[in-house]
């Protein structure tokens, strides 16, 4: 299948190995992967902070770029950025010309329909839950909020991890509770953000794992940043990195 990789700005700049791993997994399962170098940010930081005009600007740009691609699916190693693309139609509800908005909503829906988060693309679209990965060690999974609640991603990553050879999977206590990141929330209210995070860290420590895996680089920067500050040996790992290992 022909797939366009939406790597996300965060992964591009801060965690490129997640993008490389995503590419590798997609190629391994037989996809032809294209990457449009014009891609930047989906607009989520602006949208979530209340700057809808700026978010709309970036959404229009992203929609236009995707329309030029003939890829059957747009795949991203982020539930949060994928959820933002799925939210695009709602950006064209209010401001501006009604006719124009109607047209943008139609175009936004068409792009959203073929945009997928990595694990749900593999399991739901390609019907693949074993990508031939191998990783020796004990791992757990943190449900990123937007993947879980906006995209209903729950069983997909667990199935994929369950099929990683030599990996032992344990459920995290309150796996579905927020890590406290929340975009600009993490720096607007850093003390609250870290208080929430520390409950997640407590659960991870209790799980006795070598790695905590999740589907969003943003949550992983939050979790990993605290683990690193506390001198923990637990690795914050993206699902793509786990699946690329062999």
């Amino acid at each position: 299948m022909r797939v366009a990789l939406f790597v996300t700005c965060l992964v591009d700049q801060m965690w490129p190995s997640v993008g490389v791993s995503t590419l590798e997994v997609l190629r391994r399962v037989g996809c032809t992967v294209e990457f449009d170098e014009r891609q930047t940010c989906c607009g989520q930081p602006a949208f979530n902070t209340g700057y809808s005009a700026e978010a709309r600007q970036l959404a229009e740009r992203f929609i236009q770029m995707c329309e030029e691609s003939e890829a059957e699916a747009i795949v991203s190693p982020s539930g949060s950025c994928t959820a933002m693309v799925h939210h695009y139609p709602a950006l064209f509800d209010n401001a501006g010309d009604a006719q124009e908005n109607h047209e943008w909503r139609r175009r936004a829906r068409a792009v959203a329909e073929r945009t997928f988060e990595l694990s749900s693309f593999l399991v739901r679209v390609l019907k693949i839950d074993d990508v031939g990965a191998r990783w020796p060690g004990r791992v757990t999974w943190h449900d990123a909020c937007h993947a879980l609640r906006d995209l209903n991603v729950h069983s997909e990553p667990r199935r994929l991890i369950g099929n990683v050879r030599e990996a032992e999977f344990v459920e995290l206590d309150n796996a579905d509770s927020c890590c406290g990141f929340g975009g600009t929330f993490s720096v607007k209210y850093p003390e609250i953000s870290v208080a929430i995070l520390d409950q997640k860290i407590e659960a991870i420590e209790k799980a006795g794992v070598q790695a905590v895996v999740s589907g969003d680089a943003s949550c992983l920067m939050q979790i990993g940043g605290r683990l690193s500050r506390k001198g923990s040996n637990v690795r914050a790992m993206h699902l793509a990195e786990l699946l690329a290992s062999r």
Partner: protein, 512 residues
Amino acid sequence: MSHLTTETFDSNARAALVDTQLRGALRNATSLFGKRRLAAARGLENWEDLRTQARAIKDDVLLHLDRYLEEFVSNAEQRGAKVHWARDASEANQIVCDLARQQGVRNVVKSKSMVTEEIHLNDALQASGMEVIETDLGEYIIQLAGEAPSHIIVPAIHKTKGQIAELFTAKLGIEPTDDVDKLTSVARNVLRQRFANADLGISGVNFAVAETGTILILENEGNVRLTTSLPKVHIALMGIEKILPRFVDLDVFLKLLPRSGTGQQLTTYQSLITGTKRRPEDEGPEQLHIVLLDNGRSRMLAHPTTRQALACIRCGACLNACPVYQQIGGHAYGSVYPGPIGAVITPQLIGLGKASQLPYASSLCGACREVCPVKIDIPELLLHLRAEITDRKQEQEQAGGRRQEQAGGRRQEQEAGGSFKKRTGERFAFRLFAAVMTRPRTYEFSVKVGRLLQRSIVRRGKIGRVGGMLAQLAPPLGAWTNARDMRPIAESTFREQWRAGLRDDTDPGSDT
């Protein structure tokens, strides 16, 4: 803690975070209520259908509220109740105080009611020379402590057993004990005496049925029963959104509310009150007054987005589920209605300007939406309010700019600049962000610049605590790294690696 304001949310929250007793109490209670709610919801096969049905009923009510209110008033008055309309808090307080004075009331017993907290009725009654006592155990505790409720249905959720015992010893002069049964019976003895002497009972309303003019109040302690039946006068206060069209609709809401609130299948008592007593041998008060309160609700109703917040049935499930509330509790919000739904409702009550921090006090995780029995999309409402705040900022900034031009004085300039400084910075940052992100080359250039700039602070592949000048120059960097390490910008971005060969590298076995 009871006099915190919404405007100082940030410092309120910081103070709450270092209160270990508070955090312990919150952690236990919110997780317990969360678990009970989940078990109770799972106990019903058609939970999701019930939520959908409840929301549909509420949407219908809100769309035809005028008609249903008229129907309710007409039916309630036919059965002997007297209905009063209050546009705002002061009108409502005036109505209640006037009624009490006309009846020569001295002693008032109250059952738990958020709407009376909203209008600060106790203060008004006390100012009119009346004795008011809260008869719900949790409300009684915080009344003794001189505090405000910190949760919609569990007013004293922030208190530990030990703190309550100390309070009872200090205020009621009992021997120190942490035996919950003893503490409860002490409160019961005090309250029974008050019930016997009361000449006015004041309650809230959970649901008001238009078809029959019935009001329904749920509780577990029996104090609502006593409040609404012992004194010769009963005044019930309710927001205008509490209406349900038909009696049969209660079936849906009685399944949802107790399960969502406390995880009970049903509360211990359900008081259905339709008018006053008809015959001398009937039980109940001689007079029933129902006060219908607007207080900003019709303004919410007029807006197609915020309207859905009026569907709220005040179960408190979103508070228990909210990671922010779980950490800081209700007082930090500085509002009668805390937590996620409070962050939506409070700006409508006191104005967005004063409550502008609350919509940002959320990680937008969506747990509130997941548990809401009437499917209110709280994250969407918070985002809507955030957008309104930034629009408002823009207006104010423009207005401030005009004032500066006209006055031309340095002092005005400083004042206008000072009060909007932070917001101007944020707006500028997001304009810059959009400008960079719409230009791939500028984006790449900014990544390169960032890589150069970070050299001095990257140690062993990470950025540790950044303080001093640099943290002042880039506050988010300081805020992040105070307790968390940061990943630096990569030596080689994904797109640089793509261009350097990843594009053509199709060997699936390659090791990264």
